[in-house]
Symmetry: C2
Subunit: 624 residues, 2 copies
């Protein structure tokens, strides 16, 4: 049986489940998947056609010089959408989408050269030669997304014309970039993680070896200048922290974990783990957002985490999930699933509008002014991405990347091992898998995170004693777990609460997580938010929007973090003061306070920001 899942390591602590084994049956993430299928995938197809990024393949296939549309990496958007379609077809079997996929496959395949080379920007008549610009050309990056789409296809439908295209491309890459060939890397990591998984999906060891070579070549300075930007400054196994372009860094980390797991290279795995731990402690925003600098779309230095210029790119959120998921499978540590949850709710969920047709490229935690909406029918320059979601960007990596992630999202909910099933993310779901060769089927009912109760019902158990493990998030002080015998016990935050029994159908396990809104304070070394507090509710970060402070100015707010936030009528409220401070030279012997007026401040989930209209917004609220 092929497991229809994007990451399938041969070894590890936990075994991932496929889309055929775990389904989301409702709730927030069910709605997300429905909107993704019903709106986002079609929206992306529309834009890729309208802008000519799919058309590039048709014109390249004609073999004459043409004016190519889009940036160097435009091909990759088509591949990422193909991956989204492939998972979606795997999930729902939608025949219309299948027909669309087949048409897209034909158009892509027509542009492939006889030797497997495939790129609409290089190597054709009148174009720059192949691999003339490895640092910025993105050719290998594009192959990476082609190959990841092929993995999705292989694991949902098996071999077809699409996977054949990817095989030819992967073989070509091994020939050109293998030992004795062009011993360099691509300026944007992605080929590593793709080839490693393609090796798992096809059984071709040469792909893993080529992934390993690419990982090991990072730091050999085979690209010109600015090595840290594309992680060419230091070998992966020698680095201390994630750095440079955040998406590149996280994709590379994912590939390095895969290579480490498949080659038994524990030193490499430990190296990535070390970098990850320091990145979480010193380079990650409250939302789980990574990449604190607009400049270079990059990780900033340790503790450089300004909320207003946080880039926290949507695609870096996806990269963080990719890395955390691989570490979770390898180690089984709850903190990895905690991070996936944090990023899912506070980066991914907010990066796409509720209607699935507009997107945030960057996800800063502070929007200083209420920017006007971007034009509804134009691609927004991504570096100008401001306060509202836009339908498309000049560099438009997030829409298709989000589409493929939401289509596959069910797999992140649960895993299995020889003892039982582990629940990592809580949503209404149906799980039907095998444990030690025997069926174990569970259903999950929950209104989490609005409500902290998660009920797991055993639907079938073909084996005897089984262990169901439920993640207790690190913030969940006071959580309790109740076994099928009705006995409740405390569940320690930051671990998995295990319930072991010879389960019978109808048995229920219940986890109660404390989801009352709470204040969170920053590490005192995070300079930019010193003296501030933020509200979280379960995994959901909250924010203040100027819409809820009519006539007021978010710059003039202070809050009383000694008083707990309250929940009233489904709304989260905190005690605050609005000041009226005079302008003048802003530095002096004393900081004059203007007159203060007490207000009860409404907070809204960060992922729902900017959905009611243009608004100033802030997550971190200055304390009085």
């Amino acid at each position: 049986m092929t497991t229809s899942t994007p990451v399938l390591p041969p070894t590890g602590t936990l075994r991932p489940l496929g889309l055929d084994e775990v389904r989301i049956t409702g709730g927030h993430w069910g709605e997300r998947q429905a909107v993704n299928a019903g709106a986002t995938i079609g929206h992306c197809l529309h834009w890729l056609e309208a802008l000519g990024w799919i058309g590039n393949f048709d014109r390249a296939a004609e073999g004459a010089p043409f004016e190519r549309a889009g940036r160097e990496f435009a091909d990759s958007e088509v591949y990422k959408l193909a991956e989204a379609m492939a998972w979606e077809i795997g999930r729902t079997g939608d025949p219309a989408l299948e027909a669309e996929f087949v048409r897209l496959t034909e158009r892509i395949g027509a542009a492939q050269h006889a030797d497997g080379y495939l790129n609409t920007r290089f190597g054709g008549p009148g174009q720059e030669p192949r691999y003339a610009n490895l640092e910025w050309g993105h050719e290998l990056y594009c192959y990476g997304h082609l190959i990841q789409a092929a993995v999705a296809r292989l694991r949902t439908r098996g071999e077809d014309a699409f996977t054949a295209i990817a095989r030819r491309a992967a073989d070509h890459v091994c020939e050109v970039f293998g030992p004795g060939g062009v011993e360099r890397i691509c300026g944007h990591a992605e080929i590593e993680v793709a080839l490693a998984e393609f090796a798992r999906a096809t059984g071709e060891a040469r792909y893993l070896e080529q992934a390993r070579l690419f990982v090991e070549r990072h730091g050999a300075k085979t690209l010109p200048e600015a090595g840290f930007y594309y992680q060419d400054d230091v070998a992966v196994r020698d680095a201390e922290v994630l750095r440079g372009h955040a998406v590149r860094a996280l994709y590379l980390s994912s590939g390095a974990i895969d290579v480490a797991v498949d080659t038994g290279d524990t030193a490499l795995l430990e190296a990535v783990r070390r970098q990850w731990d320091r990145t979480l402690a010193r380079r990650t925003h409250l939302t789980g957002g990574m990449g604190s600098q607009y400049q270079d779309e990059a990780f900033g230095r340790d503790f450089a985490l300004g909320p207003d210029r946080a880039y926290a790119e949507s695609c870096a959120g996806i990269g963080a999930v990719m890395t955390a998921w691989r570490l979770l499978l390898a180690t089984g540590e709850a903190s990895c699933a905690d991070l996936i949850e944090r990023v899912s709710w506070n980066v991914l969920a907010g990066a796409v509008a509720p209607d699935g047709r507009s997107f945030f490229y960057a996800n800063p935690l502070h929007q200083r002014t209420a920017d006007a909406d971007p034009p509804p029918d134009a691609a927004l320059p991504h570096v100008r991405a401001g306060g509202r979601r836009a339908p498309w960007f000049d560099v438009s990596c997030c829409p298709t990347n989000l589409a493929r992630t939401f289509a596959q999202y069910a797999v992140y909910l649960a895993t299995a091992d020889d003892r039982g099933v582990q629940l990592h993310q809580y949503a209404p779901a149906a799980i039907d898998t095998e444990v030690a060769g025997k069926r174990l089927a569970l259903s999950v009912a929950t209104a989490y995170p609005e409500d902290g109760a998660v009920t797991v019902r055993v639907e079938a158990n073909g084996g005897g004693e089984r262990t169901v493990s439920l993640r207790v998030p690190a913030w969940a002080e006071g959580a309790r777990v109740t076994g099928p015998d009705g006995t409740a016990r405390p569940a320690a935050p930051g671990t998995y609460a295990e319930v072991t029994a010879a389960f019978a159908p109808g048995d229920e396990i219940r986890l109660d997580l404390p989801v009352a809104p709470r204040w969170s304070l920053p590490d005192p070394r995070v300079d930019a938010v010193r003296g501030c507090a933020a509200v979280e509710r379960g995994p959901v970060v909250y924010c203040a929007e100027s819409l809820d402070l009519p006539g007021g100015d978010l710059d003039e707010l202070t809050v009383d973090a000694a008083t707990a936030p309250i929940e009233r009528g489904g709304r989260v409220l905190v005690a605050a003061t609005v000041h009226d401070r005079p302008d003048g030279w802003p530095y002096g012997p004393a900081a004059p306070e203007g007159e203060g007026k007490p207000v009860e401040l409404v907070l809204v989930p960060f992922h729902l920001r900017a959905t009611r209209g243009p608004a100033a917004m802030r997550v971190w609220l200055p304390q009085e």
Copy 2:
């Protein structure tokens, strides 16, 4: 008599003095001028030759296609150096420099087209056509610096071959961009301020009219997209605050003030003043640095003033001095001179190394890690500008800009009006001018700001009763002024202390400024430094460097701002604690403090940072 000064408005509150009327005779700024003359100008000449940026003119003159060196605006560096040389020749009469200037003039002139067009990047064989790319081509920007150099030459030596080149270029600009011509602007303001001054220097009214047209065209959206970046989003007279690229914004403001003054357009003057006031209150760092974003080298939003990603470009400091000086001449307000002092000590003085041969492009107030030195013999990519000064940059606007500013710096010390002389900046100096047609000569002796005493001695007074006005900085609470009769009285901060008498030679006036180190606190709306304090001593901002905390980590410091900083043996010290905090997920219900160890922390002037070796550095120190 022509006054040898860069800005000479026909009307205004104060009359600027020329380099022949005010000389710096020693102290910090005397040393700066000596190093500028003895090292920086030669250093710039060397690099401009070595990189071929001067050679571009030779090759353009040959009239055949050639591979041009440098960026679009490389010509402007040659012109800014020519301006530095012209002021320096005016100041010292150095014959070797004069000979160099004449040789440079010949090489520049040889590349000028018959109709006055002059640019080595456009308009030649094999090059893009003239004005094909107004938004990024910088052709008018380059003319602006050519013309400013010609102003320097006109006001120090009179008409010559150089000024003739500039006249031909200015006439060409008026013909091409005048009414009915190309009614657009340059993507980088500079032509406005240059043409307005050239009109004053030559008496040609058409140059002022052309400057006016360019100022008024800003906001008409004659350039594509991203209008705020080059101030093409809103008309100058309608804008509320400085925004977009900081250097562009400040050069444009300077030109707008000139146009407003010369055309009697008080509404335009008020508009710039309004923008300036809000920029000081909400968009300026403690150092006077402007431009808080690396992205776009731009002003950030109100109160977005993160010290670690402060760009505070050296050239924006020069632009701030240009704007403040023009406002000072127009209004006579002490706050304008305060800002010039703040920027001079904390941006300009630190932007060049004590030896005059390396430079900071950006001047952030927080350097998180001790970066290695840049290579001594390569131009550093300006966006990578890190913790140490570099000899040159790919975009190398600061070295030549600093050179021209230091060469003319004496003019910022004093002005005159019909009643007397105003002293704005305190340095050892000799002033010899006329007040209402009669000679008034003063000498200034001071070790300011190490010592707060400024003694002004009357050397000659050809008139009767005269007023000497001494700026009392806004921070100088407790200042006192003593008249020639020996009576002392309080001098109000933020004003000019006036001493009026029928001065006789040998009379002395003394100003005592309180220069003990002091804590400054930020406006509570400046999010990024909330909870921090900084030390200033007179106009000089201080910083902590990791070199003074052996084995310690600047991220782990807190200070006690309730205890005044002390001065001991010429060193400034504050009471601090070094913590040892554990790493982990950095957000939670409580911010755990590690164990603290009290230390006496040495602070050094910010302008001397990074002169002893690589170091982490911070101006804003977290309070306990």
